[in-house]
């Protein structure tokens, strides 16, 4: 097992390095003079030149990259020139919100998707299967912002059960906090469940035709046990991959939902940084998000080994 992890780690490092390089390149190649933007209406040619020299903006790009990378490895992601807070603290401040949203969204997505997938797989080809599969397919054409509008209209405008926007910290008001997350998490969950369900259904249909399922039936085990213990585990590999990838994507991808529902998460931080041309924040947060994605994929790879003992022992 240790060898497996070790080999994967070795593969991880060049990818992470490439991510840092790409992030840096994108941020520095965006048009606009950083020093000019930073000084704003106090910009004079002298001050710009001085600031550029101070920030090392005149150095060749590879030198700037290495300086930046060195800082990053020491935990210094830079400091926003607008707000003065470090990138690290800006991110850490908003991370809990994004994480809470991500976890709730994915959990809800699985809560909907897994039972639907199992139901469809068991009654594969029947009317229920066709209906639910069609529903999942249709849902794929309904993007998150539309779902958000629908949910807001239904629950906030018409029924008045849940708030359309606004957020309170968990420490202050746990119930209010959870209430403010329900609609955004549902919005994301509705976008997630079709993909999850489709993948699990497909794998389960294949698994249910395996001999060991026939054997389990021949042993006289209960259907519930056969489905949940014998069939679910070998079918969940793709599901785990997709879930992991989705969580990784959600780290940066929930920004539409965060914007609509006014949640102070990383997505909104990014959007704000883009509007204000805050390169430093942009660069730091993108690095954080991309790295997070790569790391999540790595963890998913590890989970594979847990789920399928054959991989653990070196065979596939």
């Amino acid at each position: 097992m240790a060898r497996f992890v070790g080999r994967r780690l070795l593969h991880l490092l060049p990818v992470l390095l490439a991510v840092t390089l790409l992030t840096f390149l994108i941020a520095s190649l965006l048009p606009g003079d950083l020093a000019y933007t930073m000084l704003g209406d106090q910009a004079t040619p002298d001050k710009i030149a001085a600031l550029r020299a101070e920030m090392g903006l005149d150095l060749p790009i590879w030198q700037r990259y290495l300086h930046w990378l060195w800082d990053v490895l020491q935990g210094d992601f830079g400091r926003s020139f607008r707000t003065g807070e470090t990138v690290l603290s800006a991110v850490l401040d908003r991370l809990p919100v994004s994480l809470e949203l991500m976890v709730m969204a994915e959990a809800l997505g699985l809560l909907i998707g897994i039972p639907v997938a199992i139901l469809c797989a068991v009654r594969s080809g029947g009317a229920i299967d066709r209906f639910l599969t069609g529903l999942a397919f249709g849902k794929l054409s309904l993007p998150s912002f539309m779902v958000a509008i629908l949910l807001i209209y239904l629950f906030a405008v018409q029924l008045g059960w849940l708030p359309a926007t606004g957020w309170v910290p968990f420490a202050e008001d746990p119930i209010g906090n959870l209430r403010s997350f329900i609609l955004p998490a549902l919005t994301l969950a509705f976008a997630e469940w079709p993909v999850l369900m489709r993948v699990l259904r497909s794998d389960m249909i294949a698994t249910l035709q395996e001999d060991y399922i026939a054997m389990a039936k021949a042993k006289g085990l209960r259907s519930a046990r056969i489905l949940l213990v014998h069939a679910l585990k070998p079918s969940s590999l793709t599901l785990v991959t997709v879930t992991g990838i989705n969580i990784g994507r959600l780290i940066g991808g929930a920004l539409i939902v965060e914007t609509i529902f006014a949640l102070p998460g990383i997505g909104r931080l990014l959007v704000g940084a883009i509007y204000a041309r805050d390169f430093i924040i942009l660069q730091g947060v993108v690095l954080f998000v991309a790295t997070g994605f790569v790391l999540v994929n790595f963890v998913v790879d590890m989970l594979y080994a847990v789920l399928d003992p054959r991989i653990r022992h070196g065979r596939a």
Partner: protein
């Protein structure tokens, strides 16, 4: 005269296919007494596996079963799913052909043994584990405690099949159906597994059905043999009689096809020429006629019934059965 443990009356299995109805099993009659072993022999596609599925009530969803399967005096088709489920394990058990695919690859051996014991015998965890160790030891697996924590792919083919047998025997069934239990194993291991099955069967006074394509497997290990061809039973007799006085040319051809150690090197294998008929287009006459060297017009026009004209317990379906002396020379 005790009543049979298992009784099949005019059992047929039909499957809908894009090319028409496929008759996999065609009006089979069989009886099995308690404590006896029945061998079912036939080549691939003769319907023996479908027959075993019919006995176990594990047919695919679209299959249509007609006729009656009576187990322990009860018509299996009339039982509810729950009653049938509770039968499986304590009364009816099965060993499949390939233990690599019939054991769940992501669950430990222990889990797969214990769950059967817990489901049917209501054993607690510790008791079930102890019993599992005993079962593994009884089927000849060394270091059984370690094995419980291992996964199927960590064991050799022969060991895996022993585990499958242990699982099948764990609830002391009355009938064990072994569907080609040694086909996927090395030749050296085959005899061991078959001996294990025979031993356990005698010890527990269990009935057993041994399904195989290899006549050599049933010799000496079964009480009665039924030969199947194209979905029908074409010969059925107590084992010694079948080998001593076979009547059906097909059975003779099957026996001749077994390679013999005593033959000189490079002896061509007397394989049976031709192929079994397409099950979606049944022939009007005897299904074996196209390949039989004794076939004549009558064979091609009319299907011979399964009869026992000599009244000696051996049935066959042939218009021109082998004469007893000629058959004796086939061994």
């Amino acid at each position: 005269m005790t009543s049979p443990l298992l009784s099949l009356e005019a059992v047929s299995v039909e499957l809908p296919t894009p090319r028409g109805m496929l008759r996999a099993v065609d009006k089979v009659d069989l009886n099995l007494m308690p404590g006896r072993t029945l061998g079912i022999v036939g080549e691939s596609g003769c319907g023996k596996t479908m027959l075993s599925r019919a006995i176990l009530q594990l047919l695919p969803k679209r299959a249509q079963l007609s006729g009656r399967v009576t187990f322990d005096g009860r018509d299996l088709a009339t039982l509810s799913a729950e009653v049938l489920r509770r039968l499986r394990g304590p009364e009816l058990a099965v060993v499949f052909q390939d233990p690599m695919t019939s054991l769940n690859p992501v669950l430990t051996i222990g889990t797969q043994l214990v769950e059967t014991l817990q489901a049917h015998l209501g054993m607690g965890g510790a008791t079930a584990i102890r019993r599992s160790v005993e079962l593994l030891a009884a089927v000849g697996i060394p270091a059984p405690e370690q094995r419980l924590r291992q996964y199927p792919h960590q064991l050799s083919g022969g060991m895996r099949q022993r585990v499958a047998i242990a699982i099948a025997l764990s609830c002391e069934p009355k009938l064990l159906v072994a569907d080609e239990p040694t086909t996927a194993l090395d030749v050296t291991v085959q005899a061991q597994i078959l001996d294990l099955l025979a031993r356990e069967q005698k010890r527990r006074h269990m009935s057993m059905i041994l399904i195989t394509h290899d006549l050599g497997v049933v010799a000496g290990r079964t009480d009665e043999v039924a030969v199947m061809y194209a979905g029908r039973v074409v010969e059925r007799a107590p084992t010694s009689r079948l080998f001593g006085h076979m009547r059906m040319p097909y059975t003779e051809a099957l026996l001749a096809a077994i390679p013999k150690l005593e033959s000189p090197p490079h002896t061509p294998l007397p394989a049976i020429a031709g192929r079994p008929p397409d099950p979606t287009r049944p022939l009007p006459g005897c299904s074996f006629a196209p390949r039989c060297r004794y076939a004549d017009e009558q064979c091609r026009q009319a299907k011979p019934p399964l009869v026992d004209p000599d009244r000696c317990g051996g049935l066959y379906a042939c218009w021109h059965p082998l004469a007893p002396q000629a058959a004796a020379m086939g061994i």
